[in-house]
Amino acid sequence: MPDSDTLAFVDRPADSVGLVTPHIAKFDTPLPLACGKVLPEYELIYETYGTLNAARNNAVLICHALSGHHHAAGYHGSEDRKPGWWDAHIGPGKSIDTNRFFVVSLNNLGGCHGSTGPVSHNPETGRQWGPDFPMVTVSDWVVSQARLADQLGIERWAAAVGGSLGGMQVLQWTMTYPERVANAVVIAATPRLSAQNIAFNEVARQAIRSDPEFFGGWYAEHDTVPKRGLKLARMVGHITYLSEDAMGSKFGRDLRSTDLNFGFDVEFQVESYLRYQGDMFSTAFDANTYLLMTKALDYFDPSAAQSSDLASALAPAQCPFLVVSFTTDWRFPPARSRELVDALTRAGKAVSYANIDSPHGHDAFLLPEPRYHALFNAFMTRIARELNIDEMAIDETAREETL
């Protein structure tokens, strides 16, 4: 049984999972992909928090969003300034309570944080995959995640949970493996991208692909990265993650200095912020991965095979759903979540839906908020009750000794 990756960690909040170490799972069985190509072998990097119980029914799958990865909670080292990307919701006593649940969080195929992707070695050519890495879809990810579940001895997830692109993977799980998902939590997602969503993605892709340092995706062989393109892509993306109000209250029209300097250097605080975000991202994320991930978003549309009838596409789903949207999210607005909810009710599926009042736009799904917490917590607690998942007996003396 896989043990928790969590260790006691001094100087961190009591509701943190503490220090965590990622694991690598290797797969030798070829994976046929939706694009027609076959991935002969691959690896997935993942982390776990909490302990898998004897009944093996307390596992929760976390699916990540566009630029996410496996490090969802806790810290990798004592020098880490920030915890994992969903630490607000995963940990002892949090919505996804690691005293009850065994949490599995992985980096998707095609990613650039340790799972097989464009930066990995291509065994057939002996060079990096680069732009040759096959296009992966949400369905492909779900199949690869199911294989990870097999390796971990998890027959059925107590819940599959995800925000944004992660929510789409959760949806796909309920259709591809309905018997393997006991509950689904779909947050700030959409059953398919709008023309506007695809348009923003295309601007991001063009920014990357038109960067002279892109070299058709072979930038690594030229010892460079398309930094300017990635930076622009991230800046555009970032605008869509925040609401107009959130940006307004954070930056307003504040200037970096007291006077206007009538030039094109950074003058407004918002420019400085976007450039900073873009710069950080351009050195930390792989351009080919970004291209792949945005295409996976664009392609996702389970209703396409059912003459655009989402309710028929969702017919195989068996589990209760919790769908959550945020009032100021204009990337995947509440109406898109409602579209999903209406399809689920038409299909007669168990579903609850809440539209949380938040000023933070699409990013709200990552942040703590009292109503969001209460609702999420209520859903997860109900799952624990129905599946008879008890809190793990925590050895208090052992805990105190390590502290």
């Binding site: 209760p320 038409r346 007669g348 579903v351 809440a354 129905e386």
Partner: protein, 197 residues
């Protein structure tokens, strides 16, 4: 469970597929699901109510009833229930149409403005009634379309609806002999079961 909900509970058939408008904390749907195999959804706008429904395992959808029921198909439910919300809607008559488009039968409860205590408030004392069923002051009440037992019957007749059943609630009791004979005067809560013809 609230007196009007007890009565409604008896009116929902075994295994029915229902929509409960303004379902509150979901207690009615939970009992109907557990004891009568009823399926369906509650619609609610109050955040705490929604969280309580989720805790109970009741399907609840955040929805403003003033937006209508456009997202629900014709005849997709056996019954639509709406308790204590009619009087707070912008257009109660339109909602009645919507309810009976989505289901053949509707159950509606609302505070009876012609209840004798309310009449005393207004008729003798000259103040807008404040009571257990109408707890708000005139300036902050969500109840913008107050009506009486008789008013509602009149609306149903105008719309050509069949009143299958009617009852009243007084305080915590399901009904009193006096309210059976003179519901418009002695009924505090009006409860109707209506059908389209």
């Amino acid at each position: 469970m609230r007196a009007d909900l007890e009565l409604i509970y008896d009116w929902v058939p075994q295994g029915a597929h229902v929509l409960d408008l303004a379902c509150g904390d979901g207690v009615l749907l939970q009992r109907l699901a557990q004891e009568k195999n009823v399926t369906g959804y509650g619609l609610e706008i109050d955040p705490d109510g929604i969280t309580q429904c989720v805790s109970r395992g009741v399907n609840v959808i955040e929805h403003n009833l003033d937006d209508g029921l456009g997202s629900f198909c014709d005849n997709s439910y056996d019954q639509v229930i709406m308790t204590q919300a009619l009087q707070a809607l912008r257009r109660p008559d339109k909602m009645l149409d919507e309810m009976l488009r989505v289901a053949e039968e509707g159950i509606i409860t609302f505070p009876n403005f012609a209840y004798w205590r309310h009449r005393i408030h207004l008729g003798l004392r000259g103040y807008m009634p404040v009571s257990k069923s109408l707890p708000h002051a005139w300036y902050d009440t969500p109840n913008i379309h107050l009506s009486t037992f008789n008013d509602f019957e009149h609306l149903c007749r105008e719309k050509g609806l069949v009143i299958v059943d009617r009852a009243v609630g007084v305080g915590d009791h399901k009904g009193h002999w006096s309210s059976k004979w003179w519901p418009n005067l002695f009924g505090e809560i009006a409860i109707f079961r209506v059908r389209r013809r």
